[in-house]
């Protein structure tokens, strides 16, 4: 393994942030382990999406190719908002990040830019969504990508939270949830999503991305058509239809009797560790 060079370390309010370069990639991590990378960009080709999960998240566009308003919870290096703002220059993108240090690091090391169409709220994602409900704000596309050093924070993985997210989705709105649970949590998480949204596309390739449409999942032919329309614009980012489309599965590969995660019962970190 090539030696990594550390560019920046910082003890923020919530975590230790490390930015490092290794094998032509610049990454951010919150722990000492190099395996738990929060975000990575390729130094040679900054547009190229290094992570499979980011490509799968963009699969949400196959369900809703022209979102006007986008909400992204969890900024990381800002890969998702940066990419989406290139693909959809007119879209208004709200991002939410709890840790001000991550916002600074994303700007300094990962080319993230706050622009007239891309803005950041430094607060807890759940509080942001609750305020959005009160204000009556709706989004065509919502991406859930909030992680701490362990996993998704427990209050962002409950049936009540997903119900709140549903309330800020437009009727044809789409939700993309990034999860990479293994073992027992996978079953609980899947059952919880299904309890709120019904059937969903379950994209598994290393990690897992859940895609949901508020007014029901579109047919395979609609998705294929949207994929074709988007192909030229997504190619620069390494997102190709022949790569993504086979991953769109609606099969249930979890225990359907798994206990649903709620605000009363959400030991997600404990379940993930088991």
């Amino acid at each position: 393994m090539a030696a990594e060079s550390i560019l920046h370390t910082e003890r923020s309010l919530y975590r230790n942030i490390t930015v490092y370069e290794n094998a032509g990639e610049r990454c951010m991590r919150f722990t000492k382990r190099t395996t738990a990378r929060q975000t990575c960009i390729s130094l040679k080709d900054p547009d190229y999406l290094v992570f499979k999960y980011t490509k799968m998240m963009l699969g949400a566009l196959y369900l809703q190719p022209k979102p006007d308003k986008i909400l992204i919870i969890g900024l990381g290096g800002g890969t998702l908002p940066s990419t989406l703002s290139i693909i959809l220059p007119k879209a208004k993108i709200d991002t939410v990040e709890i840790d001000p240090a991550v916002v600074r690091v994303a700007q300094k090391y990962f080319n993230f830019r706050i622009t007239p169409t891309v803005n950041v709220s430094e607060e807890d994602g759940r509080v942001f969504v609750k305020r959005a409900i009160k204000k009556g704000i709706k989004y065509d596309l919502i991406m859930l990508d909030a992680f701490d050093h362990d996993y998704i924070p427990e209050h962002l993985l409950t049936q009540e939270f997903l119900g709140e997210v549903k309330q800020v989705m437009t009727p044809g709105g789409v939700l993309a949830g990034n999860t990479w649970s293994s073992s027992r949590l996978y079953d609980h998480e899947s059952a919880t999503y299904e309890s709120v949204f019904g059937r969903f596309f379950n994209l598994r390739f290393g990690s897992r991305v859940i895609l949901v449409k508020n007014d029901g999942l579109p047919s395979r032919s609609v998705i294929t058509k949207n994929a074709k329309t988007l192909e030229a614009r997504l190619k620069t980012f390494g997102v190709r239809a022949d790569y993504l489309l086979p991953l769109f599965s609606t099969g249930r590969d979890w225990r359907i009797d798994a206990r649903i995660l709620t605000d009363q019962y959400s030991p997600s970190n404990l379940l993930n560790a088991h």
Partner: protein, 200 residues
């Protein structure tokens, strides 16, 4: 005086306070998030409530202290926790609407829901010391023992709640069970205290 019962009450009360404190973070999170200041607000309110409870407990202990009265304090602490379960969500929703800043929202919520039960729990330790001490030369010995038991209870309440209880039970079930245990202990020690009075 029935010393084991006094220690049981103090140890259980220590368990109760820390379990409630941990769960209070869970209760506030849906409205105010998991930000560092939410925990800051919770810890502030619990410490403040305990400190005032100690003050009151010390004063109360000078007025004919008894095991019966200590049992009643434990009972009232448990009873004052019930609003958390019964109307917690309503209170939190109202405060979320009224206060925009989640720092003060969580601070006010923690005050309304948790100040009273925690303060009453704080009364128990100094009051218990008074019941244990019969000679002043022994006061330090018993104070030390009581701190040990009550803080050990707190440690147990913290680890059991965060490692195991939340893995199997809903928050409200944990609350009701703990309130129930408090009521059982207080009822039992009340009757023991009553007998003690009758026998004298």
């Amino acid at each position: 005086m029935n010393r084991p019962l006094v220690f049981l009450i103090a140890g259980w009360s220590g368990f109760f306070v820390m379990a409630v404190e941990l769960l209070s973070g869970r209760i506030l999170a849906p409205n105010f998030g998991n930000s560092i200041y939410v925990w800051g607000g919770i810890i502030t309110i619990f410490m403040l409530a305990l400190s005032i409870g100690y003050l009151i407990g010390g004063r109360l202990s000078t007025r004919k202290p008894s095991l019966k009265k200590l049992s009643i304090i434990l009972m009232v602490a448990a009873a004052s926790t019930t609003p958390v379960v019964l109307m917690g969500d309503t209170v939190l929703d109202r405060i979320f609407t009224l206060i925009q800043d989640p720092r003060y929202g969580s601070l006010i919520s923690a005050t309304i829901l948790f100040f009273l039960p925690t303060m009453i729990s704080g009364i128990i330790s100094p009051y218990a010391v008074r019941l244990l001490v019969t000679e002043s030369s022994q006061s330090g010995h018993f104070a030390g023992l009581l701190y040990f038991v009550s803080t050990f209870g707190s440690a147990a309440g913290t680890i059991l709640t965060s490692f195991y209880l939340v893995l199997y039970f809903e928050l409200n079930h944990i609350f009701w069970t703990m309130i129930g245990i408090s009521l059982l202990i207080s009822a039992f020690s009340f009757f023991v205290g009553q007998k003690h009075v009758e026998n004298n």
